[in-house]
């Protein structure tokens, strides 16, 4: 049984111009100790889906799901209090902007200690001990000194390390990392990714890595979900995905990787993810797809079988190289 099991998750935002479905019929399952990556451009609904799991969406959002279970607890029927007990202890999350994700008014030690006090009921000296332990675990030098530091005294990379220390403080079973390296320098990005992967291996927690960077996916993930305009367009394990992408969008994303590019110019996907007002009929990707024909523009695509990456496409690619 998977650790996190979500079926047919949809999130609708009430906006001034009407309802907007940011996430549409998404299935996510993560096993204990597994690294799942969710990939997609900005606006594809990958963060929103995970925020829905965490219960962190604003009141304007309506979350519906056929099934939503974490570690045997039905999140759909669990009380608010019960969900709060799980959030921050068994599932935790780190975010894209580490600098603004830490409260500027409180010290690092205080902010790490909070979850320890709330969920584990640790006393002051135990909290301090554990906080020092956590800070050295995430590779912060002189952890004792850093406890009394305020967030504005930390660099972006340091802040993200503190966020990670906070997130793993109660030894969660699942960590959701929402573009954890996007706001950081390239050199720091690699360090933070390595740290996350190392911690994941050591603690055997499940890791959901939300990213738009295919390079990050290749280095870290075991399974990949590709999301486009709120829908999952492909689900595969990482080797299969890189060897034989079945959805044209996945293929286009991979072609845009500098390592794989062959010509003088980096291939790009023309256009942007459709928003609320400009949703096409038929396949949502058809206006940007190189292979689209009349059928793609009028008929919603079917879900292909698992050997074709469960691609949401009329004409999946690499049908001959279907994964076994």
């Amino acid at each position: 049984m998977p650790l996190l099991d979500i079926r047919d998750l949809s999130v609708t935002f009430a906006t001034s111009t009407g309802a907007f479905k940011a996430v549409d019929g998404v299935d996510i399952s993560v096993d204990a100790g597994e690294v799942l990556s969710i990939v997609g451009e900005s606006g594809s609904g990958k963060s929103v889906a995970m925020l829905a799991v965490m219960g962190l969406l604003p009141p304007t959002a309506t979350v519906t799901a056929a099934h939503m279970e974490f570690d045997g607890v039905d999140l759909k029927t669990a009380s608010k209090r019960r969900r709060r007990e799980i959030i921050g202890r068994d599932i935790s999350m780190i975010f894209q902007e580490p600098m603004s994700s830490l409260n500027p008014c409180f010290t690092v030690g205080f902010q790490i200690g909070e979850a320890l006090k709330t969920h584990l009921g640790l006393g002051r000296s135990e909290r301090k001990k554990r906080a020092i332990e956590l800070l050295s675990l995430v590779g912060i030098p002189e952890p004792e000194k850093r406890l009394s530091a305020f967030p504005h005294q930390l660099s972006g990379g340091m802040s993200q390390r503190v966020m990670i220390a906070m997130a793993i403080s109660c030894r969660p079973k699942l960590l959701i990392a929402d573009e954890p390296t996007t706001a950081l320098d390239v050199t720091i990005q690699a360090q933070i990714l390595d740290l996350l992967v190392d911690l994941q291996k050591e603690t055997e927690m499940g890791l959901v890595l939300i990213t738009h960077d295919m390079g990050v996916v290749a280095e870290t993930a075991q399974r990949v979900v590709v999301q486009y305009a709120g829908k999952q367009v492909e689900r595969q394990d990482v080797t299969g995905l890189f060897d034989a992408p079945h959805h044209p969008y996945t293929a286009a994303l991979l072609d845009a990787l500098p390592d794989r590019a062959t010509g003088d110019r980096l291939p790009a996907i023309p256009g942007v993810v459709p928003g609320q007002g400009d949703r096409p009929t038929g396949c949502l990707f058809n206006p940007r797809c190189a292979f689209a024909d009349e059928r793609c523009r009028t008929v919603e695509p079917p879900r292909q079988p698992p050997e074709l990456g469960e691609a949401l496409c009329h004409y999946p690619l690499h049908t001959g190289e279907a994964a076994a």
Partner: protein
């Protein structure tokens, strides 16, 4: 932190000199001759007029008068009242506790009601709570102080007979002044009912004086909270599984307080102006009423010295607010 402190103190000196120039100049621009006023209806002969001018120093150039004035102030001499012949500083100190007591109570009311009201309005944004709190705040802010005071007197003192109309305590009670604060002195006196009497006298003026700061604080708290509640660190706090009370009351409010504290400091100045009206309405024997009386009597030294002392109080309060600001906001403290 030390640099921050020194910097704040350093700013006080030029501000104080600036205020002294303004009060000195302004009072001399006002129409009305204090010597003629002193002489009263009998009038004064030209010889006596010149004599008085020389005695009071009004015949000398303004710059010299100002310099003498400043020099005296530096020696703790704020001049002598033309009317009562008492030192201005003594008169001020005798009345200041009354004003301070009133202002503290008014600000206390404004803060303990204004901040929670603003928080509720922000958390329940767009709800009936939000709308009624904000409408009430706008009405309170727009209400002229004297009119509001009179309305309250008519309702509570005249119609309902719950509170006295004027003064600080009932004339029934007499006890020596220890701290100058009627609430404390009445308790110390041990006289039965004295404290209740002092409270009943204080309550209406405090409400009247506290209304505008209350409205401003509530509105500022609401807008600051709305901004802070959308911040990433509030989402982080929620992702930790903290209770909503802790998220709003600690993580969000602590950040929202930074602009609110600034506004509270600025409202102290506004309150000093409000005290003049409030003290007059309620015959409160404080600095505000004293200033107004002195203006009518053209008591130059009192108005001049009094304004300067009030300005000094406002400056000290704002210094304290700045220090508090540094305490609340770690970025300032170590910046």
């Amino acid at each position: 932190m030390l640099r921050f402190l020194l910097h704040r103190f350093g700013i006080l000196i030029p501000t104080f000199i600036g205020v002294s120039i303004v009060t000195f100049a302004f009072i001399r621009v006002l129409p009305g001759d204090p010597i003629l006023l002193l002489a009263g209806e009998r009038g004064v002969t030209p010889e006596r007029y010149a004599q008085l001018q020389e005695l009071l120093g009004f015949d000398r150039p303004l710059v010299v008068q100002y310099w003498d004035y400043l020099w005296a102030i530096l020696h703790g001499d704020f001049g002598t009242s033309l009317v009562s012949k008492q030192p201005v500083l003594d008169e001020f100190l005798a009345r200041f506790p009354a004003t301070l007591e009133l202002s503290l109570c008014a600000m206390f009311l404004a803060v303990i009601i204004g901040i929670p009201a603003g928080v509720i309005a922000a958390v329940k944004r767009g709800s009936i709570y939000d709308q009624s709190i904000m409408t009430t705040a706008l009405v309170g802010y727009s209400m002229p102080i004297f009119w509001w005071g009179l309305l309250l007197i008519i309702l509570f003192s005249v119609t309902l007979g719950w509170t006295p109309v004027s003064g600080r305590i009932s004339l029934m009670y007499y006890f020596p002044q220890v701290t100058g604060f009627m609430l404390i002195d009445s308790l110390l006196s041990g006289e039965k009912g004295a404290f209740a009497s002092a409270v009943s006298h204080l309550i209406l003026p405090s409400i009247v004086l506290g209304t505008i700061p209350l409205a401003v604080i509530a509105r500022q708290t609401r807008s600051a909270m709305l901004e802070v509640l959308g911040e990433d660190y509030v989402r982080t706090a929620r992702a930790k599984g903290l209770s909503s009370g802790r998220i709003v009351g600690l993580h969000a409010l602590r950040n929202a307080l930074i602009p609110v504290v600034t506004v509270i400091g600025l409202q102290v100045g506004v309150m000093m102006a409000g005290a003049i009206l409030t003290e007059t309405i309620f015959s409160w024997p404080g600095v505000g009423k004293w200033m107004l009386d002195s203006v009518f009597k053209r008591d130059y030294p009192v108005v001049q010295g009094g304004l300067l002392l009030i300005a000094a109080v406002v400056m000290v309060v704002n210094l304290m607010v700045d220090l508090l600001y540094g305490f609340i906001n770690p970025r300032i403290r170590q910046g």
